[in-house]
Amino acid sequence: MLQAVRKLLDNKETITDVLSPFPVHGLDETLSIKRSRIPVGGFIFGALGAILAFGFQAWVFTVSYPLIIGGKPFFSIPTFIPITFEVTVLFAGLSMVTAFLIRSRLKPDISFKPLDERITDDRFVILVDTADKELTLNRVKSLLSGIHTLEIR
C-alpha cells in the first residue's frame, strides 16, 4: 500500500484519497496530510465547559438558591469539582464529535453510493485524480505493474 502510494506520488500523480480498513502507520506523512485541529477545539470547549459549570454552581449556591448542606460554607470549591470535571469532559467530547461531523460534511439524511461495495469491507483503495481517463489508466497500470494490485479501473 505505502509502496504503491509512494510510487504514484513520485510520478506526479494526484491522489485524491486513500481508503483502508485500518490505520496505516506512515501514510499521513507520505500523503503530507496536515494534523487535525480537532484537539484544539476540544481543549477550548473543555475550558469553556469548566468555566461555565464552575460559574453556574457558584452562582446557584451563593446568589440564586443558597442551601446549607452538612454545615459547609455556601461557596465550597471541593463540592464543585466533580460537576466541573464532568461538564468539561462532556463539552470537550460533544464539541469534538460535532466539529468532526461538520468538517467532514456528515449529516443525517446523507445518501452515498460507494464505488464498490468492497471498499467498506476489507480492501485498500487509492483514488487517483484524472483529467484524461484513458491516459491516466494506462499510466497507473504501468506504474503499479510491479506491485500486487487486485484491480485498476
Binding site: 471541593p78 463540592t79 466533580p82
Partner: protein
C-alpha cells in the same frame, strides 16, 4: 547496538564529592543548629521513602510492560532495571530507622495510655514492624533481582525460556508489590499519625511512586542522549514517556482529590486532623504541592509537540520530581517534626546525599553491560515503533 555506558571517572568523582559534601554539611547543620532528633530522623525516613519509591516505581513500570508484553519499552528497559539495584542499599538505610523509631512513631511508646493506639497494637508493635520491613524488602529484592537476571541473560543467550521466565516473575512481582506497597505505606507513613487513617492512602503513595520513577527514567534518557548514547530512542519513545507522566500526574491528582474530598465532606475529627495540621500550618507548601504536581505536567505536556521534545519533557520531569518530594515532605514532616518542620539546608543536603548515592548506584549498574538487550524478542518492534 552493542554500545555500553562508560561511567567515566569524572562523573564518579562529581557524585562522590556531592555525596560526601551532602552528608558533611548535614552533619554540620545538625551539630550547629540542633534541629531536634525528630526532624533529623524524619529526613532519613523521607529520603528513604522517596528513593525506595523511585526503585519500586521503576520495577512496577517494567513489570506492567512485561506482563502486557508491550514492545515499545524494550530499548530502554535497562534504565529502570538499573534503578531497581538501589533496593539492597535502601534496605540497609531503612534498618537505620531502628535507632530513631521513638523519635518518629508515637505508637512505639510503651507507657502510652491511649485507647485508639491500644486497639491497633496487634499491627503496630516494634517486632512486627521490623518483621514486615524485612519481609517487604526480601520479596522486592528477590523478585527484582530474578527479573533482572533473566532479562540480562538475554544479552548472551537467545533462549526464549528466559524471556518467559521474566514475564512470570513480573507477574509475581505485581501481585506482591500491589499488597506490600500499601502495607508499607501504612507502616512507614500513615502510622506517623497513629490516630489517623485513610483507606486510599496506599493507592495514593503507589501512584506518586510511579510518577516519580517515570520522571526519573525520562531524565536518565535525556542525560544519556546528551552524552551521545541511545541514538535509536526517537521522539516516539519520548512521546510515550510523556504520555505516561501526563496521565499518571492527572491520576495522582484524582487520588489526592478523592482522599481530600471524602475527608472534607465526612468531617470526622480523627480524619480531618491530618489535613488541619497541613492546611493551617503549611498552607503555602500544601498548595504548591497540588499546583506543581497537577498544573505543570497538565499544561506543560498537553500538546503533541511538547510531548516529543526531549529537552522540554526533561524540564517538566525535573519539576515533577521536585513536586513529589514536596508531596512526601507534606506526608511525613508535619506529623513528626511538628512546628520545627521546614525546608532548609538540612533537607536539601540530606536529599543531595541520597540523590547522588542513588544516581551513583544506578549509573554503576548501567555501566556493567550493553545499554540494549539485543536478544530480546521485542527489539525489532521497539526499533520501528511509532506512537
Amino acid at each position: 547496538m552493542d554500545e555500553q555506558f562508560d561511567f567515566k571517572k569524572k562523573y564518579r568523582n562529581i557524585l562522590i564529592i556531592l555525596m560526601t559534601g551532602g552528608i558533611l554539611v548535614s552533619l554540620a547543620v545538625i551539630l550547629i543548629s540542633k534541629p531536634g532528633a525528630s526532624r533529623i530522623w524524619a529526613n532519613v525516613l523521607l529520603n528513604n521513602q522517596y528513593f525506595i519509591g523511585l526503585s519500586l516505581g521503576a520495577a512496577f513500570f517494567l513489570a506492567v510492560h512485561r506482563v502486557a508484553q508491550s514492545g515499545w519499552h524494550t530499548l530502554l528497559q535497562r534504565l529502570p532495571d538499573a534503578m531497581t539495584t538501589f533496593l539492597p542499599v535502601a534496605f540497609i538505610l531503612m534498618l537505620l530507622i531502628y535507632f530513631g523509631i521513638h523519635n518518629l512513631y508515637s505508637w512505639t511508646d510503651k507507657n502510652l495510655s491511649d485507647k485508639v493506639i491500644e486497639g491497633k497494637r496487634a499491627w503496630l508493635n516494634i517486632p512486627f514492624f521490623f518483621a514486615r520491613l524485612v519481609f517487604y524488602f526480601a520479596g522486592w529484592i528477590a523478585l527484582t533481582s530474578m527479573i533482572r537476571k533473566n532479562s540480562n541473560t538475554l544479552m548472551t543467550s537467545s533462549d526464549l525460556k528466559y524471556h518467559n521466565r521474566k514475564i512470570l516473575f513480573s507477574g509475581l512481582f505485581l501481585v506482591f508489590y500491589g499488597i506490600t506497597v500499601s502495607a508499607s505505606s501504612w507502616d512507614w507513613i500513615m502510622s506517623l499519625d497513629a490516630h489517623w487513617y485513610s483507606t486510599l492512602f496506599g493507592w495514593y503513595v503507589l501512584i506518586g511512586m510511579f510518577v516519580t520513577s517515570l520522571a526519573f527514567i525520562t531524565l536518565l534518557i535525556w542525560f544519556l542522549k546528551r552524552l551521545g548514547y541511545l541514538k535509536y530512542i526517537r521522539p516516539d519513545h519520548i512521546h510515550d514517556m510523556a504520555i505516561l507522566i501526563f496521565a499518571f500526574s492527572i491520576f495522582w491528582t484524582y487520588q489526592w482529590y478523592a482522599q481530600y474530598e471524602l475527608i472534607w465532606y465526612g468531617h470526622l475529627p480523627e480524619e480531618t486532623s491530618y489535613y488541619i495540621t497541613r492546611l493551617h500550618h503549611f498552607k503555602i507548601i500544601f498548595f504548591i504541592n497540588l499546583g506543581i504536581n497537577f498544573s505543570v505536567p497538565f499544561f506543560g505536556l498537553i500538546t503533541i509537540n511538547s510531548k516529543r521534545q526531549i529537552g522540554w519533557v526533561a524540564i517538566i520531569a525535573a519539576i515533577v520530581l521536585m513536586g513529589h518530594w514536596i508531596d512526601y515532605w507534606l506526608m511525613i514532616m508535619p506529623a513528626t517534626a511538628g512546628d520545627k518542620a521546614g525546608i532548609g539546608v538540612l533537607e536539601v543536603c540530606m536529599t543531595l546525599f541520597y540523590a547522588s548515592l542513588f544516581i551513583f548506584i544506578v549509573l554503576r549498574s548501567l555501566s556493567t553491560g550493553p545499554l540494549v538487550i539485543k536478544n530480546d524478542p521485542y527489539i525489532e518492534e521497539s526499533l520501528n515503533y511509532e506512537s
